[in-house]
Amino acid sequence: MASERPNRLYRNLTAKIAAIPMILTAVCVFLGGTAWTVVYSFTNSKLLPRAKFVGLDQYERLWGTHRWVVSIENLMIYGICSLVLSLVIGFVLAALMDQKIRFENTFRTIILYPFALSFIVTGLVWQWLLNPDLGLQSVVRSAGWVSFNFDPLYNADIVIFGVLIAGIWQGSGLIMVLMLAGLRGIDESIWKAARVDGIPLWKTYVFIVIPMLRPVFITTLVLITSGIVRLYDLIVAQTSGGPGIASEVPAKYVYDYMFQGQNLGQGFAASTMMLLAVLIVIIPWAYLEFGGKKRG
């Protein structure tokens, strides 16, 4: 039996070997890919990546581009609305589902099923439902309300909300399930204590329960945010960025410039800006998750 202190590296060697796929993915793909992207964002690569550095030119152009600014604005609007609405709708629905209701399974299934569909499908369906000549607007008009106007996908001012309707439709089910799971995890005696204290139900939710659901909110926040940053398929399927450039988003900007515009450098610069934004979100999260508390 060993009396020498063995090399640290060999302790739990199997575990380390088993983690190699993860380490490789993390380091080679995510870190490596990111670094590669950042490096090439300083070049003037066109169709193929080329190491001809041009400093910050791509970034200057990026921020001078009207479409990028619109994209960022859209993402902000969509992001904030989607975050708030997803959380609110998800939570309210979860709270309703938590009232020991009948047909809970049915309602839950109805609310969650869009989650199983792809964004492409979601985009198509809602594009159709919101089509003024075929969808809701024409139906309401043919029902007699002739002046009814609801054509978000063809109105540059509100097109992003048309996308939002579809995005919420698809995403809020999962949030609801997460919240519901969180609610179910709350100690029943908290509810009892609040009732004995004579606290109205809504106050119990707002002042006691919601603060207790912090971990769930963090999980959902991560989920929703990562979805928002990646928003692409839905836009492409639903509006293709239109009308005009009114519903453009950064991910689409990246894609279009990299592949359609054959200007990789510009695409990489835009990606780098997006990654930067992600880092701003994720660093506080990682800090909360790993910084203070240790397992014990």
Binding site: T14, V177, G182, T219, R230
Partner: protein, 313 residues
């Protein structure tokens, strides 16, 4: 049982006033249509309409003929039910020269989805297990990077991965695509598994180590049998993701292994004259059918697994 209580009770009962006895008694009266119930069920029903409307429209439209669609109301049920759009979507819709509809892509999708799901879950569950129970130095760092990966827009990684796959000699093959799906599924799945395994009592793990089980012994004999709910969650998420993927399927493979979604895109985007909404809708439903069925079948386990794995952020 005859005991002193009954005595004391009668004595006390005599002492109480008659007014007391006439007060409310028994269960609190409940009305089925209370404002509370109206609010709850009303809201839920209203919300259900919002969630069901698209599905309804999809189904109804897919059963109509084109003339009917052009004339009418998208919410009206079909006057004349026709399954032709379904047949067309499945078997005869054309893209370029291929007129096999979605059927061409269905088996490809299966062939892509099954190994992708299996591999990604296998890797992610081992990762999660290693992270939760065998915390080695640097594990948290790698994990954070992995989570960071969850936020990277796919488009950004398109080229680096092309290069990666080329170097691995996997580009264009089914396995290359499987690998890509495993890589992009890894962050969220690993998070799920890690959270789940963290919630398994540590003592179980210790007991198994004392019993002489190694890394794999504990994983297969102790952890795996306990983690059905989280596997279901991972499976649903991954099946949905992989099956619905379009970008990777089209970029990293070639036509003979194109998944169904590529076909769907082709059908939907190859407009021949007017858009054939009924065929599009039929194609859309057919494409979404597999994840929908998987989800309907295992929905309950999904919710259970979510409760077990995801909430403890």
């Amino acid at each position: 049982m005859a005991n002193p209580i009954s005595l004391s009770v009668t004595a006390a009962a005599i002492g109480t006033t008659r007014a007391e006895l006439s007060g409310p008694r028994g269960a609190r009266p409940k009305r089925a249509i209370s404002p509370r119930n109206v609010f709850i069920y009303g809201t839920l029903l209203l919300v259900s309409v919002y969630y069901l409307l698209p599905l309804y429209v999809m189904i109804v439209t897919s059963l109509k003929g084109m003339p009917e669609i052009r004339l009418g109301n998208i919410f009206a049920p079909p006057v004349e039910v026709t399954f032709e759009p379904w047949v067309k979507a499945w078997a005869t819709a054309c893209t370029g020269l291929n007129c096999e509809g979605l059927s061409r892509g269905f088996w490809n999708s299966v062939r892509i989805t099954v190994p992708s799901v299996v591999l990604s879950i296998a890797i992610a569950s081992v990762n999660g297990y290693a992270l939760a129970n065998w915390r080695f130095k640097g594990a948290d760092f790698f994990f954070t990077v992995l989570i960071f990966g969850a936020f990277i827009p796919y488009q950004v990684m398109l080229y680096p991965i092309v290069i990666l796959l080329r170097e691995l000699g996997l580009f264009g093959s089914l396995w290359g695509l499987v690998l890509v799906h495993s890589i992009f599924g890894m962050p969220i799945l690993t998070l799920l598994f890690r959270n789940y395994f963290t919630s398994v009592p540590e003592e179980l793990f210790k007991a198994a180590r004392v019993d002489g089980a190694g890394f794999w012994g504990i994983y297969f004999k102790i952890m795996l049998p306990m983690s059905l709910p989280i596997f279901v969650v991972a499976m649903i998420i991954q099946i949905t993701g992989v099956w619905n993927d379009f970008l990777f399927g089209v970029v990293y493979t070639k036509p003979d292994v194109y998944p169904m979604t590529v076909q769907l895109n082709n059908i939907v985007n190859s407009v021949q004259g007017v858009k054939e909404y009924n065929v599009n809708m039929a194609a859309t439903i057919i494409t979404g059918l597999v994840p929908l069925i998987v989800y309907f079948v295992s929905g309950k386990l999904f919710v259970r697994g979510i409760a077990a794995g995801a909430v403890k952020g």
